[in-house]
């Protein structure tokens, strides 16, 4: 399911939470909703899940204006997880599934499948307060996906999981995505963005500041830096570098040398290599691709400097 976010504005008493945010979540993508704390991510998620209404703007699900029936197609896991402490796990899961429109019978069937899959069948009769945090997270995840939503919205899904369970959830997400689920992931963890997301939007100070497929974004933010590992004398390397190249750094690494150079035109790699081969023995050559983390920091910090003067005192 494709989701369109169009010109969403949300203002709280003296604070602009979302200022004309527009982007598209493509069908069957894993979409990263990024941004620093307080940027307006949670406000946006609450609008998409119809918990609150926007002041202006519209949300479209498959080109259909958002309406109350759409909530059955959404599975939402809030950042702050919550379950009824004194309720039994199974009973509680059935309750949430039924709130999402499932029949009792279907809910129990599905839950059995998931409980077996996550190997938590023995907890069915336990109260939530008896579970560890990780266990409760598993239950929470099941509750989120139980009604086979077409859209999964997960706010910081990996906090509180150990690496084994994080992997388990990641695999599940990838499988669900392959089966057609569109996934919206709000997170600070850039490594999981790189690993999972096909598209991202970066929200900062209530505004959409960066948007696109992860590949595109990284290409846009490529630095033009290349790492070269070679055997030979650094002076020979410098001899080979002429024209549009710039040596940024050179150091010794084990039995070889390491150099980082900058090159204006990314199509010139072969030319550069040909020149270098004559001078030194090249053992490694690769482009330095910026991590999402770097991009995030660069965009957020740059944007922070610009509008500061125009900022509201609040």
């Amino acid at each position: 399911m494709q989701i369109k976010v169009e010109h969403i504005v949300k203002q709280y008493a003296s604070h602009m939470a979302l200022d004309d945010v527009t982007f598209v979540i493509p069908e069957q993508s894993i979409f990263g909703l990024l941004g620093p704390n307080g940027a307006g991510k949670t406000s946006l998620i609450r609008i998409i899940t119809r918990i609150t209404a926007p002041d202006q703007g519209r949300i479209y699900f498959d080109n259909q204006t958002s309406n109350p029936n759409h909530i059955y197609m959404i599975g939402y896991m809030p950042e702050e997880r919550g379950l009824y402490q004194k309720m039994e796990v199974g009973e509680q899961a059935v309750y949430f599934a039924r709130l999402k429109g499932m029949t009792r019978h279907d809910a129990i069937q599905k839950l059995r499948y998931w409980f077996d899959k996550f190997e938590i069948r023995p907890w069915w009769k336990k109260k939530v307060e008896e579970l560890s945090k990780g266990m409760a997270q598993k239950v929470q995840f099941i509750v989120t996906v139980i009604h086979e939503p077409k859209v999964l919205i997960l706010d910081e899904p990996f906090t509180g999981f150990d690496p084994v369970n994080t992997n388990l959830i990641k695999e599940e997400l990838l499988r669900l995505n392959k089966d057609g689920t569109t996934i919206l992931l709000s997170t600070h963890r850039m490594e999981s963005v790189e690993e999972l997301c096909s598209h991202i939007v970066l929200i900062n100070k209530a505004k959409n500041v960066l948007e696109g497929s992860v590949r595109e974004v990284r290409r846009t933010y490529r630095t033009g830096n290349y790492d070269i590992r070679y055997k030979g004398h650094p002076v020979s390397l410098v001899n080979g570098l002429w024209g549009p190249y710039q040596l940024l750094e050179n150091k010794e690494e084990d039995d070889h040398q390491f150099a980082r150079i900058y090159m204006d035109n990314p199509d010139q790699t072969n030319v550069l290599l040909q020149a270098l081969i004559n001078e030194v023995q090249v053992v490694g050559f690769n482009e330095v691709i910026p991590s999402m983390n770097d991009i995030f920091i660069r965009v957020v910090e740059k944007k922070e400097e610009l509008p500061r003067a125009a900022q509201q005192p609040n």
Partner: protein, 444 residues
């Protein structure tokens, strides 16, 4: 609608399955039934223990006239007081009653020596016995015979009847009708508090456990709030019903155990027919008088229009609960923790407490204008009108009061809904009245 049912179901089932609910449900009637049974038991059984009192009678005329009763036996002792006190056998005797020579001229010189603090019941009986004797003696000295005296004694108990001639001369009993209404009003008062606070705690639980966001991504906040309120109302009704049934069961069980046969009817008969009890002193006739009144109690209860009162009770019970619990839900939604609830609870508890105070005054004066106004205003009417109910308030009063109550709870629910839906998503903010005022006017 299906979602509300689902929420009601959860609220209801999780609560009635709680240990505290089961304990309260069993303990409530046990306490109530226990108190009733105990008081019946005490009235029937206190006569069993016999207190033996030594009498040192220096007048030589009083002892022989002292009546031996079931509870007190008088035994003559000829020793001087000082020695009798010296050798007093506390295990055998209850005390020493010292009647000095001067008794007939100075009756307040009679002394009762006891080993431990004497019980008021024993003291009352002894005093009564002595009073009778000395009075009779005085009458005799004044030349009035016992027969003349008896014929002079008059006791008046008004027969209270309704002026209405259509009904079969309903008998009134002011105290009892007022008592019944007050009791019903008090029940409503306690239930509003008890279950209103449960609603508040329930909302706070959802808020602090952050379940809220999960649920309101599938249902509207208003549905969640109403589901909780209605679910808990049903819990209240269930508990109340169980209490009534269990209390009746326990009372009849215990009474049949006391009387040995026949269950509660036997008990009532026994209470109603004092003749069966061997009573031979005026002190114990006081008890029998009370018992006679209790048969009047049954009659007075019968004179009340039970169906009407019961209907009004259920109506005001639910109406009052709905009105207040919506406000309690709003508080639960607005605050983050227990300590913050205090400042918001106060404005809710004030009208309730006011209603209680007014109810007390209305009980003695049901036709007063205070009674009228407070039984019309929705915030106090559930309690005050219940007190007026047994006095047959005019139908128009009742209709106005009920219509206003319905309007009142629709209004509070509307307000509460607005506060609630904004409050439940607010965390870590210090909530003030001004803030809540703003929430009322937020767009959806």
């Amino acid at each position: 609608m299906g979602k509300i049912t689902l929420i009601i179901q959860r609220e209801y089932l999780t609560r009635i399955r709680k240990k505290s609910f089961i304990i309260m449900t069993i303990l409530g009637p046990l306490l109530m039934g226990g108190i009733i049974a105990l008081s019946v038991y005490l009235t029937l059984k206190t006569q069993d223990t016999v207190s033996i009192v030594q009498v040192i009678d220096e007048t030589n005329s009083i002892y022989s006239q002292l009546p031996q009763t079931q509870s007190i036996h008088y035994v003559k002792d000829t020793l001087p007081v000082a020695i009798a006190r010296e050798i007093f056998n506390a295990e055998k005797y209850y005390g020493i009653l010292y009647i000095p020579k001067t008794t007939f001229t100075r009756p307040d010189s009679i002394t009762l020596f006891t080993a431990k603090q004497p019980s008021p019941a024993v003291v009352t009986v002894i005093e009564k016995n002595l009073e009778n004797l000395i009075e009779e003696d005085k009458f005799k000295n004044a030349g009035i015979s016992k027969a003349t005296l008896d014929s002079l004694k008059t006791k008046i108990s008004l027969v209270q009847k309704s002026v209405a001639t259509d009904t079969s001369e309903k008998e009134f009993s002011a105290e009892i009708t007022a008592g019944a209404g007050f009791f019903a009003g008090m029940l409503i008062y306690f239930f509003i508090f008890l279950y209103g606070i449960q609603v508040m705690r329930g909302v706070m639980e959802e808020k602090s456990n952050r379940i809220m966001e999960l649920i309101i991504s599938s249902v509207k906040p208003f549905q969640l709030m109403m589901g909780k309120i209605i679910g808990i109302a049903l819990v209240g009704l269930t508990q109340f019903l169980l209490w009534v049934v269990l209390t009746l069961a326990i009372v009849s069980m215990v009474s049949s155990w006391i009387t040995g046969d026949g269950g509660s009817t036997a008990l009532i008969e026994k209470v109603q027919t004092p003749v069966e009890l061997p009573l031979d002193t005026s002190a114990e006739q006081v008890v029998s008088q009370e018992m006679l009144q209790s048969s009047g109690f049954m009659k007075a209860l019968g004179s009340l229009n039970i169906t009407k009162i019961l209907f009004a009770f259920v109506f005001y019970f639910l109406g009052g609960y709905l009105l207040y619990s919506a406000l309690f839900a709003a508080i639960g939604g607005a605050v983050d923790n227990d300590t913050d609830t205090q400042q918001f609870m106060l404005p809710i508890t004030i009208p309730l407490i006011l209603a209680y105070i007014v109810a007390v005054s209305v009980m003695t004066n049901p036709e007063s204008s205070i009674g009228y106004w407070f039984s019309i205003i929705p915030f106090t009417s559930p309690i005050v009108m219940m007190v007026r109910m047994p006095f047959d308030p005019p139908l128009i009063d009742l209709v106005i009061s009920m219509v206003l109550l319905v309007a009142g709870f629709i209004f509070t629910t509307w307000i509460a809904g607005r506060i609630y839906r904004t409050g439940i998503l607010m965390y870590g903010k210090k909530i003030t009245w001004k803030e809540i005022g703003k929430w009322l006017f937020y767009k959806n």
